[in-house]
């Protein structure tokens, strides 16, 4: 199960995934760490970008509005997306089938509380860094500040590497067990992937709208449904029409109020 290629792949994902993960909090926040980017990047690195694209799209909707407000530490969607993609591709050996993708997404959901706890530990540990800088004096104060700050950055990086080094082998072992499960479980996981986008959409609607039945959601549905008759198969044009409709709706609401 764990040959040299597999071990090297796990190590590569751990180091590469942790670099992407820095974007979550520590560096830039340019959204490279979002599942919709991290998933395809991981899949591309391991030779199956399609698996990463599916996992990334699904997890993006699920976690997009889990916001880092105040002291709240949100779920680490980067580790979820990278781990799910890597486990699916490594366990799939030559193309991850849909049931396996579903299983890997489910598997990484169970990892979320652990990632949140690990993040909290790092943030508690970082609290000590200020003391080292305050103790420094003269010109050394600036150097001590840079050292302490980059130590915090390293702590975030090391945390992610360690989590990957634990999660990925466990995940690959779990995939081995999953393959032995009855066909009904595989069918269920296939359906799970197909239904997850609906759950993701519902989660975003719930947070963006106060209404049980949102008129803008229904407007978008109606525009795309009608546009589908004329532009079937041309989703980009349909999306542009939907966005235009949304923009007009927003302006109408401003004007109306």
């Amino acid at each position: 199960m764990f040959d040299t290629h597999m071990i090297l792949s796990i190590a590569a994902v751990a180091f590469f995934g942790a670099v992407i993960g820095l974007d979550r909090t520590a560096v830039g926040q340019c959204m490279v760490s979002q599942p919709i980017v991290a998933g395809p990047l991981t899949g591309w690195m391991l030779g199956d970008p399609a698996a990463g694209i599916i996992i990334g799209a699904v997890l993006e909707l699920i976690w997009v509005l889990d916001m880092p407000v105040g002291t709240f530490v949100p779920a680490d969607a980067t580790i979820s997306a990278v781990s799910a993609t890597a486990i699916a591709v490594m366990g799939g050996a030559g193309g991850a089938p849909l049931p396996l993708i579903g299983f890997c997404i489910l598997l990484t959901v169970t990892m979320v509380p652990v990632t949140m706890k690990a993040d909290s530990i790092v943030r508690h540990w970082n609290s000590r860094l200020t003391d080292a800088v305050m103790a420094a004096s003269g010109e050394d104060a600036g150097r001590a500040l840079v050292r302490a700050h980059l130590t915090g950055l390293s702590a975030f990086y090391v945390k992610s590497v360690l989590l990957y080094l634990v999660f990925l082998p466990l995940g690959v072992a779990a995939v081995y067990l999953f393959k032995q499960l009855p066909e009904n479980v595989h069918r269920a996981m296939s359906l799970f992937v197909k239904l997850l986008p609906l759950l993701g959409i519902a989660l975003v609607v719930r947070k963006l709208s106060m209404n049980m039945i949102d008129l803008f959601l229904l407007s978008g549905f109606a525009i795309a449904a009608v546009a589908g008759h004329f532009f079937h198969g041309q989703a980009f044009i349909m999306l542009l029409l939907v966005v235009s409709g949304g923009w007009l709706g927003a302006r109408f609401r401003e004007w109306h109020s």
Binding site: A26, G28, Q29, C30, M31, V32, I36, V37, P40, A57, L61, M67, A75, L106, P113, S120, R123, H124, W125, N126, S127, L129, T130, V133, E139, L145, A148, H149, G152, L153, A155, F156, N184, V185, R187, K194, L199, G200, I201, A202, L203, V204, K207, L208, M212, F216, L218, S219, F221, A222, I223, A225, G228, H232, A235, L239, V242, G246, A250, R253
Partner: protein, 260 residues
Amino acid sequence: MNGIRKKVSVADLLGVFLRSLLLQASWSFERMQSLGFAFAIEPVLKKLYPEVAEYEARLHRHMEYFNTQPYLASFILGAVVRMEEERTASLHASDDAAGLKSALMAPLGALGDSFFWGALKPLAAAGAVALIMTGYWWAPLLFLAFYNVWHLGLRVAMLFLGYTSGGNAVELMTRFGFMKMAKRFKVITLTILGGIIAMAPDWRPEFQPNATMPVPFLMVLWLAAVLALVAILRRGGSPIKLMLGLAALCLALAYAGVIV
């Protein structure tokens, strides 16, 4: 700035911008972004305060508690740089940088969370997911490009606005209209989400149901499912619990023979 010898150059401000990208590198529960803030303006402080004791005092002064939305921190950084510059020109004898920071960080934090996390990010994500689900593999690149044009553009602009306005929050609100744009973006996001459901016939094969059914029926079924899930979510429940619940439902359906 009339009559004041300008010590901070555009290059210095761009340096602050680059360092501000690491604002949260040592984020901690106790002082949050304090080290990051001091790290971002440290080169400017070094330039403004050649005397070591004064430089050290100012550096330590900026390591007090600080937390705001990381992008909008640019505005505060710009304002503080301006204040430090004026202080060295003896225009601000008192140390009111702390007051400025504490006055701005909470409201700007709320504003930034609402606009960037609550409106811009879901809009970019919804658009990219719509394209991915209909087979456009390059949608993640579009997501990055769309988001970062706003993100990086506004971050640089706010840094310079903070510097030139001296931290005038009214000017920030007037110039950028974050609240109005956030409302618009949220409406467009909701519209796109409705559009994604209606595009079900064009979804990638991986997301298509195994059973063949009439297209209008499929679209309405998916819409009803989303509305039902929204109703369930209003009664409470975390994403984790819902995903586990959904997996359990799928297993039950598989064992009941409903799906083949």
